[in-house]
């Protein structure tokens, strides 16, 4: 059984996730709490968790990047968010999240993401794939954005593009004429390249988070 802790300040959303994950059969909810702090020692959610499903926004408009950084030390973190500004989503991945799914994802996709993360993989949604592609594709205009980040290979870019369309890893593999394991490897490499991005990038993303002049 995969032990999953749900961290979401919204009680109805918490119930929703619980009921979806319960359908999987091999997933057990080890905790369902409102804040990351409750997972700490002595809190109601203390214990062993294989995957922590973390809502990106808690009580305000700042993404909880600090919580991701501290939780990832002992757990695999899957970020669940209704939506997110590209800079926040990128920040979450760079802070150490193993994946990002939207709350709109259908139950099979949500469960698949939990399985992927539990087995040490990187769970990508359609939107996240496009955000990562934007970040990592070394277009001339994006040279500044991609500073310090290695460029994607053509195959990795193709992989991201197919995942952005909504294809599963298996479907992407068959479209590309490679094995499923190869696609998994591409996705792993994409994650690794993302983590090479320097600290200054993170700082810049933090500055961009401030809501000024509309959420773009």
């Amino acid at each position: 059984m995969i032990q999953v802790a749900i961290v979401d300040d919204h009680p109805v959303a918490r119930r929703g996730l619980q009921s979806i994950l319960a359908e999987a059969g091999d997933i057990e909810i080890s905790a369902a709490v409102a804040t990351p702090a409750e997972l700490g020692p002595g809190g109601p959610g203390a214990g062993r968790h294989d995957v922590i499903m973390l809502d990106l926004y808690h009580d305000g408009d700042q993404p909880c990047l600090d919580a991701i950084e501290s939780l990832r030390q002992d757990h695999k973190v899957l970020v669940v968010s209704a939506s997110g500004r590209p800079a926040d989503v990128l920040g979450a991945i760079r802070a150490g999240a193993c994946g990002y799914v939207t709350k709109l994802a259908d139950p099979p996709m949500l469960i698949a993401a939990v399985h992927t993360v539990a087995s040490g993989g990187f769970a990508l949604s359609s939107q996240l794939a496009d955000i990562l592609q934007g970040e990592l594709t070394a277009a001339p205009a994006a040279a500044e954005v991609a500073a310090g980040t290695p460029a994607l290979s053509a195959r990795e870019e193709e992989t991201l593009n197919l995942i952005a369309q909504g294809l599963t890893h298996a479907q992407a593999a068959s479209r590309m004429g490679v094995s499923r394991a190869t696609v998994d490897t591409y996705v792993e490499r994409i994650r690794a390249k993302l983590h090479v991005g320097n600290k200054a990038e993170l700082a810049r993303a933090a500055i961009e988070r401030r809501p000024a002049g509309g959420a773009r």
Binding site: A105, A139, G166, R175
Partner: protein
């Protein structure tokens, strides 16, 4: 915009209008003092009284107009100029005949200040001042026969007055406009911040509840559930609306399609991340836009009817020279070679897209979901590299 507009420019105009009134009152006072002081030299009192009455009446009319309108208009200034020249000539004729002082000069000097304020363009101020100086040269130099050096120096005096008054008024008006613009920008910014705050609150509370209710078994009544799903899509559109999806454009129309199929229980992840801030959508003509919306609507309806799944991904991306729209579901799929299953999709979607110059690719197999990819060419100049 007009509601957020401040009145800095209006305040400036009122200040300048008051300055014109004060110049005029000072000029009028001077005209009275000089005329009354010199009145004993005139025999024709009736003419002098008529002159004073005319100047006083004109001053009253001009001042009232300025205060009432809270501004000074160029047309009034031009009329005032004509009147002032007339006063210069008439008073020269009167005083020349009776041998008195040339009573209108000091009055006209103060009037010239108001011309600088009332006329917006420097060229207009220079022309008006030249006319005034010419009127003075005729009245003071020819009719009243004052010494030539005096007359020349006096005529030149108008120019610095009017030009300096114009420069100060110009600067004031410019500052008023700038203040107004920056206040308008601040108001827009404040409104955006407020809108963002409200959107965030709706997003974090109401939308979360509605989207959870729209999924799963919480609501037993199918019609109520469909309604909640539709409203959730609408609310998401509202709170995430960043101006990208204005009604009538491609994103807005596709958003409506997404909301419509949500009513039938299909959740669509609508991903147009890479198009944010891109110009590619603007170059899509109405025919191609309509073809795309029709094709996506058909494809999603097809997912609802045949795919046996509750979710799909709709994604838009720019490729070199084209817009690529994909509809992907993980439903039961079909064999594209089999006539019955494939033909409907191919014909209804492919035909329309091909007419608009695009192409459709369908990739499906039984049990393996369906990928539908529409490639619609856009004007080459506007295509942007993928980001």
């Amino acid at each position: 915009m007009s509601a957020a507009r401040s009145d800095a420019a209006g305040q400036t105009e009122l200040t300048l209008a008051r300055a014109v009134v004060l110049f005029r009152l000072a000029g009028l006072a001077e005209f009275w003092i000089v005329t009354l002081h010199d009145a004993s030299n005139y025999q024709a009192h009736a003419v002098v009284i008529a002159l004073i009455a005319a100047v006083t009446a004109e001053s009253a009319v001009l001042s009232a107009a300025c205060l009432r309108a809270r501004r000074v208009r160029s047309a009034w200034t031009i009329a005032d100029l004509a009147f002032t020249i007339a006063v210069l000539v008439v008073s020269a004729m009167v005083s020349a005949r009776y041998g008195g002082l040339y009573i209108a000069y000091s009055y006209s000097v103060i009037c010239s200040l108001a011309f600088g304020v009332g006329l917006r363009r420097l060229s207009a101020v220079l022309v008006a001042t030249t006319c005034l100086a010419a009127g003075y040269l005729y009245g003071g130099g020819y009719l009243h026969a004052d010494p030539a050096p005096h007359v020349l120096v006096n005529a030149v005096t108008y120019f610095p007055n009017a030009v300096i008054a114009w420069a100060i008024a110009w600067q004031l008006r410019r500052m008023g406009r700038q203040l107004e613009e920056s206040q308008a920008r601040e108001a827009v910014l404040a409104r955006d911040q407020e809108r963002l705050r409200h959107a965030r609150m709706l997003h974090d509370r109401v939308l979360q509840t509605m989207e959870t209710l729209a999924q799963g078994q919480w609501i037993a009544d199918a019609a109520v559930k469909a309604r909640v799903a539709e409203e959730a899509v609408w609310l998401r559109d509202l709170v995430e609306g960043t101006g990208d999806a204005a009604a009538g454009d491609l994103l807005g129309q596709l958003g409506e399609v997404v909301a419509r199929v949500a009513r039938d229980g299909l959740r669509v992840e609508f991903n147009y991340t890479t198009l944010r801030g891109s110009a590619v959508l603007e170059t899509l003509d109405a025919e191609r836009r309509a073809a795309l919306v029709g094709a996506v609507s058909e494809a999603l309806t097809n997912v609802v009817k045949h795919a046996g799944t509750a979710s799909a991904v709709l994604r838009l991306a720019a490729a070199p020279g084209a817009l690529v729209v994909t509809v992907v579901d993980q439903g039961r799929g079909f064999d594209p070679a089999a006539q019955s299953a494939g033909m409907g999709l191919k014909e209804s979607i492919g035909g329309r897209v091909a007419e608009a110059g695009g192409s459709v690719m369908i990739d499906s197999a039984p049990g393996a979901g369906t990928v539908l990819e529409i490639t619609m060419p856009v004007t080459e100049a506007a295509s942007v590299s993928r980001r």
